[in-house]
Symmetry: C2
Subunit: 409 residues, 2 copies
């Protein structure tokens, strides 16, 4: 099994200090699902009255745990909720065996926490096609329950890592009508052990008080411009899961129309999404792709996605090559509206191309100097309309090939 | 400038013996457009009465030469035709300057060959964003015209290479009503010099006699299952061009309904398409992706394309890893209809997965042994319907990153 020991050069300096979210408690334990010598299962328990919203992979081959979460996510049962996540085994593409494992874990968590089974959400990440040894998880549930604490979120972030090179967390506090609302979340993603996929799991908690429908609306909206706006290698996991829980414990009522709360939640989601990209396999550059002047919002996304997913653009950035020709190629192939002679391309503040040709002011040495930075902005203005979109990705390096090709499962 | 000297391990043993196509003559010359010490411009001249069909890149940022070909391709002018191609400069994204260069070359070819300008087709491949030094081409036209010969097709194939590691040619003869019809073609593609793109150019010639409309119908149909069914890195060039010319010199009349002729043309087109993949940047494996049991033809193509373009599948193949989990992921993300529990996956004859899980008969060592081959077949049966599709690609290796990231333009 491949282990990539090195921490991504794009990692934050350290794990952030996450505030406790009243009404949400956490614990993590070493269950030996696959790894040894590290915690690999986390449990979160949410107080009665909490609401949970979710967004899941659109993969047609999604895992049993994802299907189970989707069946439960629309419930308004006020009993509280539990989230149990294991690393090391994705329980994906494991046939009917996969569904029985999910049920076994959910029933055991329900019995142990005295929460109804339809309020137990589970996720699994790791190797696919192998049966989940769910007994190893259920054997640790009493231990997990007995160690629940509002201050253990960092442990939980550590426990859900697979080959993530760093644990991912983010938080934001916002003052609404003179009172503080807190949001804190953890994520995993973009590390890999063959034959895994880079599953992304995200769990965010807030003590704000709002209805499940309002929370779901907010989360679905913000997901489009955060987690759905990142790409490492264009491959979508069978297990991607985002759950956001609001405990209401702050007693501060908000809605999907509360600008302050929306902004704070957006900040936390974008921060975690960026951290996933910064842990992209083999990444050495963090890349923002900004498309403006598009004929429509969906055209802007199609262009941004074509650029962010282009192996030629991503290898050029890896090689610190201000190769605007490859950006032109990506725009041309995307299928969305573009006019060769109206578009302009900037690397950061350096105007590279305009009016269908290299910009008269452009000097190759300016582009080359800019590309040496660790954070790169590729900005394309299409000159057609007012719609815009932004996506984030990383470069494509020998490290990606090493992680994904050089090791046998 | 990066030069990859090594010949692809997937290259044919040698350039094939191409038959002369009566009514089509060729020459090639060293014009020094960018390269020195090699031929870099080819001219083909077709006798009066020849018809020409074409398929071009769908890129919204396509080059001036492509736009010019598209404007001329529907003409039924019986005057004959010329095709002039240069390597070293793509004349793409060169603003209005690009169009004047195309016109200058076409006018000069017209004057030199006494063919009407609307029967002169040009292509350019090489660096983008730099003005085409068209005077270097026009200065050699008399030389090109004076050396035209029906036996110079291999020279032409050499002259259109950029960083192709081998020249590409294919031919087929077919007996129709007791008389022989010949088809021969050349192609370039998949080599690269930063900041180029892997432009694909294909020129096929036949002495069959058929109308332009019939030829266009045939070429458009067959293009879907040959050149449109290959992918190296999902990036589409601004200059991709396929021209097929029929001189009629055999006096054998065929139509788009002539099975023998269709099969022969299909063979030549598929052969050249495969050669382009076999020269894919960094390729060490030739991969056929076969999707059967799909609900519709378009679903089959979407699945095949998702698998053939998946960096995770392509790196697994590079690593000789029978990683069927990544095939499941690609199917899941494609967006086309799939049922996890109905699909089966085979690597060659090795049944790997079925009924939503690893096949009971599957042994990892069988899969591992198969993946050591140079030609790999990934066969997915979706179990939903009767539609099928096949695509061809290559693996994704350190060689790809080296070619595209390790060199500065």
């Amino acid at each position: 099994m491949a282990k990539i020991e090195q921490v991504s050069p794009l990692a934050p300096e350290r794990f952030p200090d996450l505030p406790a979210i009243k009404g949400a408690s956490f614990s993590a334990v070493e269950a030996g699902v696959k790894y040894s010598g590290r915690k690999d299962v986390m449990l979160a328990v949410l107080q009665p009255g909490s609401v949970v919203a979710g967004v899941f992979t659109k993969s047609a081959t999604r895992s049993a745990a994802v299907l189970d979460c989707q069946a439960k996510i629309d419930s308004d049962d006020p009993a509280g909720a539990a989230i149990l996540v294991n690393a090391g085994n994705a329980n994906a593409f494991t046939g009917s065996n996969g569904e029985s494992s999910v049920r076994a874990v959910a029933q055991a968590v329900s019995a142990c926490t005295r929460l109804p089974e339809n309020r137990v959400f589970t996720s699994s990440t790791g190797v696919i096609g192998e049966p989940l040894p769910h007994d190893r998880i259920t054997a640790k549930l009493d231990n997990l329950r007995d160690n629940l604490s509002e201050t253990c979120m960092e442990d939980a972030a550590e426990a859900i890592r697979t080959t993530d090179t760093f644990a991912k967390g983010a938080s934001k506090s916002v003052t609404i009508r003179g009172r503080t609302v807190k949001i804190a979340g953890i994520a995993k993603g973009s590390g890999m052990i063959a034959p895994n996929m880079a599953t992304m799991l995200v769990y965010i908690f807030t003590d704000a008080k709002l209805s499940r429908e309002e929370l779901q609306t907010l989360v679905s909206d913000l997901n489009e411009v955060t987690f759905n706006a990142i790409t490492v290698d264009s491959d979508t996991s069978t297990s991607d899961t985002l759950l956001v829980a609001a405990t209401g414990a702050s007693q501060v009522e908000v809605s999907s129309a509360s600008e302050d709360f929306r902004t704070a939640l957006h900040d936390v989601m974008r921060d975690l999404a960026h951290q996933v990209v910064r842990d992209g396999e083999g990444a050495t550059k963090f890349v923002e792709v900004k498309v403006t002047g598009a004929a429509s919002k969906s055209d802007a996304r199609i262009h941004a996605s074509a650029i962010a997913n282009s192996p030629l653009v991503k290898t050029a950035i890896a090689g610190e090559d201000p190769n605007w020709g490859r950006v032109v190629v990506a725009i041309g192939k995307s299928g969305a509206a573009a006019d060769r002679d109206l578009l302009s391309i900037r690397f950061g503040d350096v105007l590279v191309a305009q009016n269908g040709w290299v910009a008269p002011s452009y000097k190759e040495e300016d582009g080359a100097a800019y590309m040496k930075r660790q954070n790169i902005v590729v900005h394309v203005d299409l000159g057609l309309g007012n719609a815009e979109d932004t996506m984030w990705t990383c470069d494509l390096t020998h490290g990606y090939i090493t992680i994904n090709a050089d090791y046998r499962s």
